[in-house]
Symmetry: C2
Subunit: 191 residues, 2 copies
């Protein structure tokens, strides 16, 4: 998506440790109007008319997933990290390694909110090694639900999480894939 | 807001420890269409035309705040909890006690995304003792920004965070105030 790439090029910052910061419009301050354009873009790839829910992981995926879900007219469910006192009863769980926190975290979704009749579109703001994404897919599978697709705003292509999932046949659309990011700038993969 | 009260009465669950669970439409599975009705309701109370941003705290406030921000045509900023490697440079911080996690957490907003020219509408899904809300107000003050108002979906009136803020003159609108919740059901405060 050219407009997203332009925006990353203009506003993104590359920090040491392969961190690409786009927190001015995507995941700290969120440009809610622009998020709707991303939602429209995902709708060109996936059959939105057949999805029953959008699934994401807390916290930074929630804003984009919410705009997508509102646009498609379905509920948004976010997987919580670790166990909170406010969740009772049956849970689907998946242990993942968090790249952000550098430790193991558990993604949880209450069994009340995803089931075998669901056709799930997973949405996330970022994908690097794909650990969180694997956790979300695991939860969809544990619930016996169908996976309609995986939509990612920014994929760090050089960390290969997306390529692994594509090789395994998962239907992924990443709106911008960054193949290289260093002091010389950002190189995007061709669409 | 009668429709919200009806929905809490119909779908809410009261758990031991004064926990009121409405995670089927508000803060785990999110009814994104209904959230827009809440956004319309806040717009009756506050002068939306003058706000420059919606501010909330991660994670459960993000969905409602995003829908509100989209509806009002402004960005949504969420205060992050604790320090993540992905945030560099100047931060506004406020230490709060988290009722959910039973420990101190630090709310942080990058100084890049809030400043003295901002007129901020704070939105959150829940308010109990008001600790998170105090942290968000503190950040607005530290940034030298103006506070346009505070919109809360569900206030636990019996935990008095909202009443304290009202006594201090803060402009708060809670769409449903719960004055009692036990095995006999939920009692709402009259509008």
């Amino acid at each position: 998506m050219d407009k997203l790439k332009e925006r990353i090029r203009r506003e993104g910052k590359v920090l040491p440790g392969n961190i690409i910061k786009v927190d001015g419009f995507l995941n700290h301050r969120v440009d809610t109007i622009f998020m709707e354009e991303l939602a429209d873009e995902f709708a060109k790839t996936f059959d939105i008319s057949k999805i029953t829910m959008v699934l994401t992981a807390e916290a930074s995926g929630i804003a984009l997933a919410t705009i997508c879900a509102r646009k498609y007219g379905v509920p948004m469910v976010f997987a919580k990290k670790a166990k909170s006192d406010n969740i009772e009863g049956g849970l689907y769980q998946s242990d993942i390694f968090s790249y952000t926190y550098k430790k193991k975290v558990t993604l949880i979704v209450a069994q009340d909110w995803i089931n075998a009749n669901d056709n799930v579109l997973i949405i996330d703001d970022f994908m690097a090694k794909g650990y969180a994404m694997r956790g979300l897919i695991d939860i969809v599978n544990k619930a016996g639900a169908s996976l309609a697709g995986i939509g990612v705003a920014v994929e760090k292509g050089f960390q290969s999480g997306g390529d692994s999932l594509r090789e395994e046949g998962y239907p992924i659309r990443s709106l911008a894939i960054i193949d290289k990011a260093d002091e010389n700038g950002i190189v995007f993969r061709e669409d």
